[in-house]
Symmetry: C2
Subunit: 404 residues, 2 copies
Amino acid sequence: MDNNKIRIGLFGFGVVGQGIYQVIKKAPNAHAEIRRICVRDINKPRSVEIPAGLLTDNADEILHADDIDLIVEVIDNAEASYRIVSSALRRGIPVVSGNKAMIARHLPELIELQRRHDTALLYDASSCGSIPVIRNLEEYYDNDLLLEVKGILNGSSNYILSRVFDHGESYSDALAKAQALGFAESDPTFDIEGFDSLFKLVIITVHALGVYVSPDDIFTYGISSIHDSDIRYAREKRVKIKLVAQVAKVGNGCFTMFVMPEFVRSNKYIYSVDDEYNGVVVRGECYDRQFMFGKGAGSLPTASSILSDIMARRHDYRYEYKKMHYLDRPSYTTDITLRIYVRYRTTPVLDILPFSKIHEQYISDDSCYVIGDILLSELIARRPQLAANDIFIANTSTFFEHLD
Amino acid sequence: MDNNKIRIGLFGFGVVGQGIYQVIKKAPNAHAEIRRICVRDINKPRSVEIPAGLLTDNADEILHADDIDLIVEVIDNAEASYRIVSSALRRGIPVVSGNKAMIARHLPELIELQRRHDTALLYDASSCGSIPVIRNLEEYYDNDLLLEVKGILNGSSNYILSRVFDHGESYSDALAKAQALGFAESDPTFDIEGFDSLFKLVIITVHALGVYVSPDDIFTYGISSIHDSDIRYAREKRVKIKLVAQVAKVGNGCFTMFVMPEFVRSNKYIYSVDDEYNGVVVRGECYDRQFMFGKGAGSLPTASSILSDIMARRHDYRYEYKKMHYLDRPSYTTDITLRIYVRYRTTPVLDILPFSKIHEQYISDDSCYVIGDILLSELIARRPQLAANDIFIANTSTFFEHLD
């Protein structure tokens, strides 16, 4: 290990960027130095004091500099993030990025750019904040024995559900609090409609099973239409409603994946993952279940994860995407049956959804629900109808009963 | 990655060795092949069927072979393990070992041998079975920000405590069950007197803080003298008794470490680590707490961890012991005050132990206890007296209250 400082060009100086600045100051053994920070507006007032001359609004002052060893990109805009990261990789500059939307959308191309330009893109911080999920999947959990990764991957929606569910707060109060605490993305639909979890799941699946599935092909349903009657129902059944992302082998060389609210019983690990925490269960054939748990949102936890990626670059670490080269990679299927709870009011849910079997049905003036078996592919085909305001869906599958 | 098989010489074919044999068969993408297995007695009947000619009782047939890429050592005897591992490293052959006693005793020399002969020794399986603690500490948790590692590191003593504590079984019944299930080492004192946890803690500390402390210098107290009255007391206080290993920074550039039973309250992560499971809490300045949880004992979980180390060798992974090269490594201290519970009957505990303050005292015909503050160094100095059969000690420290 050489003790020369690693010289960083930082893109973005919001909540996470400022956290990185602080964390690097606390970690002298990281031998990291922020040389330049590129922001949209140099003159914007900032709570963290930084030396004059560090800020620039010209990306080229980092991308074309000869005194930058590593680019750290934590801006909020996926398009701009893509332009910066792909330009940097094309110039052979290694990058650490926290932008899961950008990575999930462009991962195949970003992998190819790393290969072609013999450089590295690290993004452990992009999934589950401070929990080292990606690197453990890449390095530690062997593909053949890995059966499932399932977890609560979004801190702010989990925070909101905890406040609503355990503390009786209103949904809008809880959302406002999550934003005030800096857990929620600037666009909260990202968190609460499940897209943040989806993007993380896409990235996790590449490192868990060696397969990339486009976010557009994955069923994703969020929590924004949750209603008092859903919470009441869950309480009566003594379960919690959690927004769960999962990818699981389902036999015959196939796997499936989706993001949706789930009724979680108290004997499951993720039941006790509350507030802004994330929790991930990795299930394998031999080691049974491993559970990793930690802060999934917030400035400093994310920043310390970014710092781990920065330090990994000091040792030339890069993801090898080993599992993408395996010959017997599993195939993505949506041809599996889920048992779901659908709460509705006026939308004719039974006309819309082709249940293969209905197990429970309740009708009242106020609110109705049905619990039935349906193919995941049918849910995907009916996404526009399911977006109706008076509908809320939750997974109640015993299908995965043995899996978590 | 080349697709040639990695050719393994295996030492030991007990519970773990047979598990490795099975796990490798299940994992074709590991591209691993067991070429030879060295055992003490070739003719011993074995439950796993293996091809004729694979077994040998001559270590040199592996150590001097030219068709072996990696040695995997999972024998039960620390002395023999040391001879095999050090010979192999001297010959430049990389080794994966699960022998924590051997590693904890010889780590400084083994690190030097790796350096001198440009080879690698991996031993993630040695600490916490299937939980990837070592590699995460080495690669992910940066020294500056890491404050504490604390956990339940021994599956069989935890299994015993769970049976005794939650199921009302007798200590000896629970021990026999642990042995029958293959959780306990062949010498159970190893597990129940805390030495297994101690050895793991020594290894963890090297990778957490970059400092090696000899096992002999660390206070270690087990669970073999636990008594009904201790369990009753803990139940009354609504705590569980767990055998806990911990290393923690304590300020002024110092850290401390020890293994002892602890009264654990229900709001702590490790409270719910039951049966043969292990759980480790990593606390850092920025990421707060991370919790890793998984099976810590048993044939297949340990074997799948060994397989992870085998696969890491395919990619030439080795521990870099980065933190040992840091300039500001913390120093080990035993000059800290713990608040402990001491239950006794006839041994004059108050004469033996120089408490700086006594908080509670209870005397009866049957059983007495005292809760008081004492220096860790005083406990270490009185280890022989504390080994008396009628004494049981548990940590009740509020000292670490904020730390877990």
